[in-house]
Amino acid sequence: MRQIAERDASALELLYDRYERAVYSFAYRIVGDPMTAEETVQELFMRVWNNAERYDASQGKLTTWMFAITRNIAVDMLRRRSKGAAATSVEHETLAAYADEDTNTEEEVQRKWEGTRIKEALSQLNGDQQQVIESIYYAGLTQQEVSSRFGIPLGTVKSRVRLAMRQLQKLLADAELHPDAGREGIHP
């Protein structure tokens, strides 16, 4: 990141190559179409390029930082796209997932392993808990929007989120997924 902050284009390319697939897949998961997902990735790397000096490795993982920006951009795009339109679908069955044929680096293998663990953990939540996680985190709804869209009292939405997050915490701890599991060893 220091090199990127110093406007080293090759460092940005290296960062891009390491995270392209992960951030694209995440963006696609949120926005649901390839063009908007690509726009999200482009905006992400634009921000990284212009603001890399503000990333502080001591404060957290690089992937966490990049994923948080990615979600922020993708949710903003969803909002703009759905403004004035019908309710945004929170279903993602139509996602065009392709074979993960390029999982060939140690880091990608690690991410894939972590992805499997988090999917297992999510699948162990009950349906109501999965719904609030899906609607808020992946579909970008606020708690009030979830409440009105699904006809659930706001207090119930809050309690479902609390329970879901506690359960995920426990399940991930049991799976030995912890913050250091994916901590970046390299900071381009």
Binding site: Y16, P34, E43, W49, Q59, I136, T142
Partner: protein
């Protein structure tokens, strides 16, 4: 008006997941600025949300995306450098989720524009916030043009 610590603490999971409105985020972050237990709870919960993106099914990026994205980002940087006087500081093009320091609440309230409504991720405790009202729309137009069938 929330007065008890437990009530603030109850907001932490929703804050971390991204389900609070901008005003609620601002209030919670103002509380966290003076509440270490809440900051700690948020840090722990963020360890969970940090893994959620990895639950996305792997999707192959479109052909040529690398060249388009890097070309636009680095090309734009070159254009900017040429367009500005050498001494001019680089201006952040877009909002960024950054770390360290909580921006003052009055500053957040002063942020104009519809994007402010969704500031949650820019305002996490210990994370700096930068202006986030340029979204590189001209760049997106380029992406759309380049990614369109037959392009």
């Amino acid at each position: 008006m929330i007065e008890r610590h437990e009530e603030w603490s109850d907001l932490a999971p929703m804050y971390v997941l991204g389900g609070l409105e901008a005003e609620e985020v601002a209030a919670f972050e103002a509380h966290m600025a003076t509440c270490e237990p809440c900051r700690q709870e948020v840090r722990e919960l963020q360890e969970v949300t940090g893994f959620l993106p990895l639950a996305a099914e792997p999707v192959a990026p479109p052909q040529g995306m690398r060249a388009r994205v890097l070309g636009n980002v680095l090309g734009h940087a070159q254009e900017s450098a040429e367009a500005k006087p050498a001494a001019a500081p680089a201006e952040p093009e877009a909002p960024v989720v950054l770390q360290e320091d909580l921006a003052p609440q009055h500053e957040r309230a002063a942020q104009p524009g519809p994007a402010c409504r969704r500031q949650r991720l820019c305002l996490r405790p210990g994370w700096k916030r930068l202006p986030r009202h340029s979204h590189g729309s001209h760049k997106r137009a380029r992406v759309r043009a380049a990614a369109a069938p037959g392009a």
